[in-house]
């Protein structure tokens, strides 16, 4: 009989809260399946809404939703692994989600620090007004690039390791078939979708904010970024790299915790198989790094081969298709970058579009702007809360102050209860 133990300091005298999974596998399988599905949906929705944001910090916030979705998917994989008594899948899933919790803390912290510096320096969080910051604040830009790659789950950074663990757990479950298989497949597909959408989102964020030319002149009173703001970013970026570079250590780091959550003893042979896979993963990551260096050296060599001074590359304008007077405002904007996706998912996102299309020849002016309000806030919580408030004002007549009415409630309750009782016997 496996059992999870949630132990919080205040429950010590009350003993431990046991969920017995031999019972779970039967009765609670539907909830698990339901929850995993829900988390998959959350993850996708989170990244979709992030995609549609123009405010850098809002964008990051929505990515927290997405990452929590990923974490929950890992948890779901772990629970499924337990209820299908596949300890290795359980351990992989739990370890993955726990590691992702840690990783998310690292790279999301990093990204928020960068966003803060950007706002500090450029005086705005509106992506559409930014651009070309990599030239003015290179180290922040580099940190943001690292964070973006990490949160997108790209090797050789830490995000990839945790996601890989979750993938591994899910693939193990797919081989089982049944409900677990179905959920696992759904989870895998949604993880893949989340990954690519996140890629789109962060190429947008990094590309539009830090690359190209500034879209709006940065205010003259822009603050400088002090070293004290840079060091933490540097540290976090290094941490992203470090965890990504040593997957086995990262796994070991979470293994004991995952084992405790999973409760079940995992056969050493299974752990060994996981370990061998992880060593393969390490090899792959270092291959990537090695090849990257080799190619870089090759590139340098090719440049050198053309001989010293002549090798200085020519600098010119971006190819402008022969257009006479290109301006930064011609750059692709964030909203146009994600337009194909937002239009593809507009059923869900329901963006609000204010546009003034150009009319006639030599149109005096035209404008287009779109913003995406939060689905849950607008369509679920807002209405719900207003409804409850209205209800609470409506029930006030119960306490109308008339004692006769109160006595009536008393006797009516009695009569109703007696009637109900007598009707049943």
């Amino acid at each position: 009989m496996t059992s999870v133990t949630f132990r919080a300091p205040w429950t010590i005298p009350f003993g431990e809260f046991h969920l017995h999974f031999d019972a779970l596998s039967a009765a609670f399988l539907i909830p698990i399946v339901f929850l995993s599905t829900l988390c998959a949906v959350y993850g996708v929705l989170g990244v979709l809404f992030a995609l549609a944001q123009h405010d850098l910090k809002r964008l990051l916030a929505y990515h927290s939703v997405e990452n929590i979705g990923i974490i929950a998917l890992g948890m779901g994989a772990g629970l499924l692994g337990m209820s299908y008594s596949s300890p290795v899948a359980a351990v992989l899933g739990f370890a993955g989600s726990l590691l992702h919790v840690f990783n998310h803390a690292v790279f999301k912290g990093l990204l928020f620090l960068c966003a803060g510096s950007v706002q500090h320096a450029a005086g705005t969080r509106d992506i559409e007004k930014l651009g070309g910051l990599l030239k003015t604040m290179p180290s922040t830009g580099l940190s943001f690039l690292t964070g973006s790659a990490a949160i997108t789950g790209l090797p050789p950074l830490n995000g990839f390791i945790s996601e890989w663990l979750i993938y591994a757990a899910l693939f193990k479950l797919t081989l089982m078939g049944g409900a677990a298989g179905g959920v696992a497949i759904l989870s895998i597909v949604s993880l893949a979708l989340i990954g690519t959408l996140a890629l789109a989102c962060f190429t947008k964020a990094f590309g539009v904010v830090f690359l190209g030319e500034p879209r709006v002149a940065i205010p003259t009173d822009s603050h400088v970024i002090s070293g004290w703001m840079l060091w933490p970013m540097a540290m976090l970026s290094l941490l992203c790299l470090a965890i990504g570079a040593v997957p086995m250590a990262a796994f070991q780091f979470e293994l004991s915790a995952a084992m405790q959550v999973a409760g079940a003893p995992v056969l050493s042979g299974e752990i060994d198989s996981v370990m061998s896979a992880l060593s393969g993963l390490t090899a792959g990551i270092w291959t990537l790094i090695g090849l990257g260096m080799i190619v870089w050296i090759l590139r340098a060599a090719l440049a050198a081969a053309r001989g010293g001074a002549a090798a200085a590359p020519d600098r010119t304008v971006t190819w402008d298709c022969g257009y006479a007077h290109p301006t930064p405002r011609m750059q692709y904007t964030a909203s146009s970058f994600v337009q194909p996706l937002t239009s593809l998912f507009q059923m869900i996102l329901r963006p609000k579009v204010h546009q003034r299309p150009p009319v006639g020849y030599f149109a005096p002016g035209a404008s287009f702007e779109s913003h995406t309000p939060d689905l849950a806030a607008d369509r679920i919580f807002g209405p719900l809360f207003t409804w409850v408030t209205r209800l609470s004002t409506r029930v006030l007549w119960i306490q109308q102050g008339r004692i006769q009415a109160y006595l009536l409630y008393l006797f009516a309750a009695l009569t109703a209860l007696l009637a109900w009782h007598l009707s049943r016997v």
Partner: protein, 212 residues
């Protein structure tokens, strides 16, 4: 003589109807005392048969319900100088008709009260009728004092039902309840007088400051 209890019960039913129909508070208090007397007579046969408990009970009930309680209420009534009629929310006629149906229903229900075979359905019917009538009356009445009267009638109904069960309530309990009622009557009387001092009226349906 053995049929005395039933006679009393039937008279109590008539009293209930009178309570529903009359509008004058003084008469209500009088009828309350009459009910008290009738109630006290129910255990009389047992008392004559020589049960000391029953005798004390008769005496006690007679004293408390028949004399002291009405006296206290009457005193309270005298102390408030306002129209001495209870303007019920629903007029006499319209409360008599449901009163009758209540009686009918109560007599039917009285046959089915599951308190053993020894349970006298007539007692049950009258008790229930009194109970429900009093509830109706409490809900219907505006004046504080008439609500109190309704409360005491309700109590009478319950005591009638108690008479019905096999050996009646234990003696000590009966006495305790009587004592409690005495206390209640004093509190009610005092309260009504104070209420009149503060509000200059005792119309509870106008006391609606506290809401929500």
């Amino acid at each position: 003589m053995s049929d005395l209890p039933h006679t009393c019960l039937l008279l109590i039913v008539l009293c209930n109807f009178y309570v529903l129909s009359t509008g004058r508070l003084a008469n209500l208090i009088r009828i309350l005392s009459v009910e008290g007397v009738l109630l006290s007579l129910i255990p009389l046969p047992a008392a004559l048969a020589g049960s000391a408990h029953a005798a004390i009970l008769v005496a006690g009930t007679l004293a408390v319900k028949g004399v002291i309680m009405p006296a206290l209420l009457m005193r309270a009534l005298r102390s408030i100088d306002e129209p001495l009629d209870s303007r019920p929310i629903v007029g006499a006629v319209y409360s008599l008709i449901p009163g009758f149906f209540i009686l009918a229903a109560a007599f039917v229900a009285g046959l089915h009260i599951p308190l053993g075979d020894a349970f006298d359905p007539l007692i049950g019917g009258v008790g229930l009728a009194t109970l429900v009538t009093s509830m109706l009356y409490m809900v219907n009445s505006r004046k504080a004092i008439s609500q109190v009267i309704g409360f005491f009638i309700m109590e009478n109904g319950i005591l009638i039902l108690a008479v019905g069960i096999r050996h009646g309530l234990p003696f000590v309990i009966e006495i305790a309840i009587l004592f409690d009622l005495l206390l209640a009557a004093m509190i009610f009387g005092g309260f009504i007088r104070r209420m009149h001092e503060v509000f200059t009226h005792t119309d509870t349906s106008r006391m609606r400051k506290l809401k929500g």
